[in-house]
């Protein structure tokens, strides 16, 4: 293990290290802690210039209550759910199929299609912006959740295909050959042999895509505009203009907006990191 395990160092070094880690963590998360502290203060503290002293009262419930009951925040959150969940299902389903096709079969153009997916996944969003917006408007899907979902599914299929194909490549190929010798139909190989083995990849990809889509801001701004369809990342700006300069409420609002992917991450940590670091180890 590198660096030298701390257990092998002197007692003093161990104690220093153990106190240094939490300290470093607090420093690292300081901007976020500051916002969390803001969100439990009353508004008067800000007009009195009491930013960092003890709060004059403890207003956690009032502030978060306002976010949930006196703003459009719940609508935006619900929109985000309605956009994110179908996208995850769609992108994962499509990429299970493309990954299977590219990972199992050898045919001319296999690598070419694979590299098309990878390359498309890297392009700047702006090169797609005008045509995609135009397409969405023409299809009558501007400012609808469906318009966003369709685009997200298509774009995420690039990354998901890369992921799934490499995962399927690592599966034991003999299994599929054995099934073929037995005369199992190709689609049954997919459904009954490959798909069950892909569960960990599906789990990893789902949490990852959930976070990516939940956090998307650019496409939300380009393809939607009102509280009818906008997800929470775009909605937070109108929330902030509703409570302009009321830092306690804006802080509470952004914490609420950030929470779902954070919860997802902590609940599915193993899958999340497995997905994110795929390829970091050979």
């Amino acid at each position: 293990m590198f660096p030298t395990p701390i257990e092998k160092r002197s007692r003093a070094a161990q104690i220093t290290y153990q106190s240094l880690v939490p300290l470093a963590l607090v420093m690292w998360l300081m901007p976020l802690i500051a916002v969390a502290l803001f969100s439990i203060r009353p508004g008067v503290d800000f007009s009195n210039g009491n930013y960092w002293g003890l709060p004059s009262s403890f207003e956690l419930f009032t502030n978060y209550g306002k976010v949930f009951f006196e703003s459009d925040m719940p609508r935006y959150l619900w929109n985000s759910v309605l956009i994110t969940v179908p996208t995850v299902i769609g992108a994962v389903a499509l990429s299970c199929m493309t990954g299977f096709a590219l990972g199992i079969y050898r045919f001319r153009g296999n690598l070419l299609i694979f590299f098309m997916f990878i390359a498309g996944n890297f392009v700047p969003f702006q090169i797609l912006m005008v045509p995609v917006r135009d397409l969405t408007v023409d299809a009558g899907l501007y400012d609808t959740k469906l318009g966003l979902i369709l685009f997200h599914i298509a774009f995420q299929t690039g990354f998901c295909t890369l992921f799934m194909r490499n995962f399927i490549r690592a599966l034991p190929y003999e299994l599929i050959e054995a099934a073929r010798v037995e005369g199992v139909k190709e689609w049954r190989i997919f459904w009954f042999i490959v798909l069950p083995l892909m569960k960990p990849a599906i789990a990893a990809l789902s949490v990852l895509i959930f976070t990516f889509i939940w956090n998307d801001y650019f496409w939300a701004v380009v393809l939607t505009q009102g509280p009818d369809a906008q997800p929470v990342t775009a909605g937070i700006t109108s929330f902030n203009s509703q409570f302009v300069a009321q830092y306690h409420l804006m802080s509470a609002g952004s914490i609420v907006a950030a929470l779902p992917p954070v919860a997802m991450f902590f609940l599915m940590q193993r899958h999340f990191i497995a997905g994110l670091t795929l390829g970091a180890v050979k």
Binding site: F2, P3, P5, I6, Q18, L25, L29, P31, L32, A34, Y51, L94, M97, T98, A101, L102, Y105, F107, N110, L111, I113, F115, I118, A119, G120, F122, V123, P124, F125, Q126, I127, M129, V130, P131, V132, R133, L135, L150, T157, G158, T161, E182, E186, T211, W214, N215, V222, T233, I236, Y247, M250, A257, V262, F265, F266, Q269, L276, T277, A280, V281
Partner: protein, 309 residues
């Protein structure tokens, strides 16, 4: 079970199933991807030769102007500023890689609760960039911000980071480095986990330690992690949009624009709906990105060729 091997008795589908099956499986994904990603890239090239406000049909409402949009870019001050800011983003964003490596080395220990510490260090990456932008713009506030509260302790003065044209871009990049460093950290932590312990022991016996050990023994083994960190950091730097839009909206005086933001501003915001000009900016950004994409694909292609079975 007996298998029909005589091609005459098999149907057309059965004979060609090794071609048909993958095609059927690929069709929906490729179709979607082509419509929403591949074709729009070429359409943007085409639109960039038009002057068009986005209303109506391009061929009816738009006016073909050839390369005029690109000529206009050459003399556009705002474009020049954006381009320079992109260079700053690219150069400074790469600091996330050594930064992430440093934190990973710091945390690669086994003490009580280290798993939780690692996740909490990684935490900024999970939050949306919009919230990161808000958090940092409050952190920088001249009166209420923590940064100036902190500087005040040392008698230093309030600095209005985001209001100062020379500082604002650096302030935003610092905010961007926060989640990006966390990402690189997790890549390196995973990489460090897989480093071969025998090689480390052997190197230790040979007297390698500290920095020399890191450079000659550890880093070569971390190459896959470094490659991915490099890819995601470059892409992230050139995609920076959310933070700028949230923190300064391009200001003060347009000093924090980058190409991705300037393109959006030209094509879709109150500055007018110049789709053609916006597309021309997007094309330039795409061409810059293409250099990197080409390199990444070439590297992956090499690995793929070596791994062919």
């Amino acid at each position: 079970m007996t298998i029909a091997t005589d091609p005459e008795t098999q149907g057309w589908f059965q004979r060609n199933r090794m071609i048909i099956t993958p095609l059927m499986f690929l069709l929906p994904g490729v179709l979607f991807f082509a419509i929403y990603v591949i074709i729009p890239i070429f359409q943007s090239f085409y639109i960039s030769t038009y002057e068009w406000n986005g209303l109506g049909d391009l061929s009816e409402q738009g006016e073909f102007v050839g390369l005029d949009n690109y000529r206009e870019l050459m003399t556009d001050r705002a474009f020049e500023v954006s381009l320079w800011n992109n260079v700053k983003w690219l150069a400074l964003y790469l600091l996330a890689i050594p930064g992430g490596l440093f934190i990973a080395l710091f945390l690669n220990q086994t003490i009580v609760g280290i798993r939780l510490y690692k996740s909490l260090f990684f935490f900024p990456f999970v939050i949306s960039q919009v919230v990161v932008g808000l958090v940092f713009s409050w952190f920088y506030l001249p009166r209420e911000g923590l940064l100036n509260g902190f500087l005040g302790l040392f008698g230093a003065g309030p600095v209005n980071v985001l209001g100062d044209p020379t500082l604002a871009t650096y302030g935003i990049i610092a905010a961007g480095l926060w989640p990006q460093t966390a990402y690189c950290m997790i890549l390196y932590l995973t990489g460090l986990n897989a480093v071969d312990p025998e090689q480390i022991e052997a190197a230790r016996l040979d007297g390698a330690r500290g920095r020399r050990m890191l450079w000659h023994v550890i880093l070569p083994q971390l190459r896959p992690a470094t490659f991915i960190a490099f890819v995601v950091t470059i892409i992230g730097a050139l995609r920076s949009f959310d933070l700028i839009s949230i923190m300064t909206n391009g200001g003060p005086f347009g000093s924090t624009r980058v190409l991705s933001f300037y393109m959006f501003e030209k094509a879709l915001s109150e500055y007018g709906f110049r789709m053609g000009y916006g597309s021309a900016i997007a094309v330039i950004l795409f061409l810059i990105m293409l250099v990197f994409i080409g390199y990444f694909l070439w590297s992956m292609w090499r690995d793929e060729r070596d791994a062919r079975r």
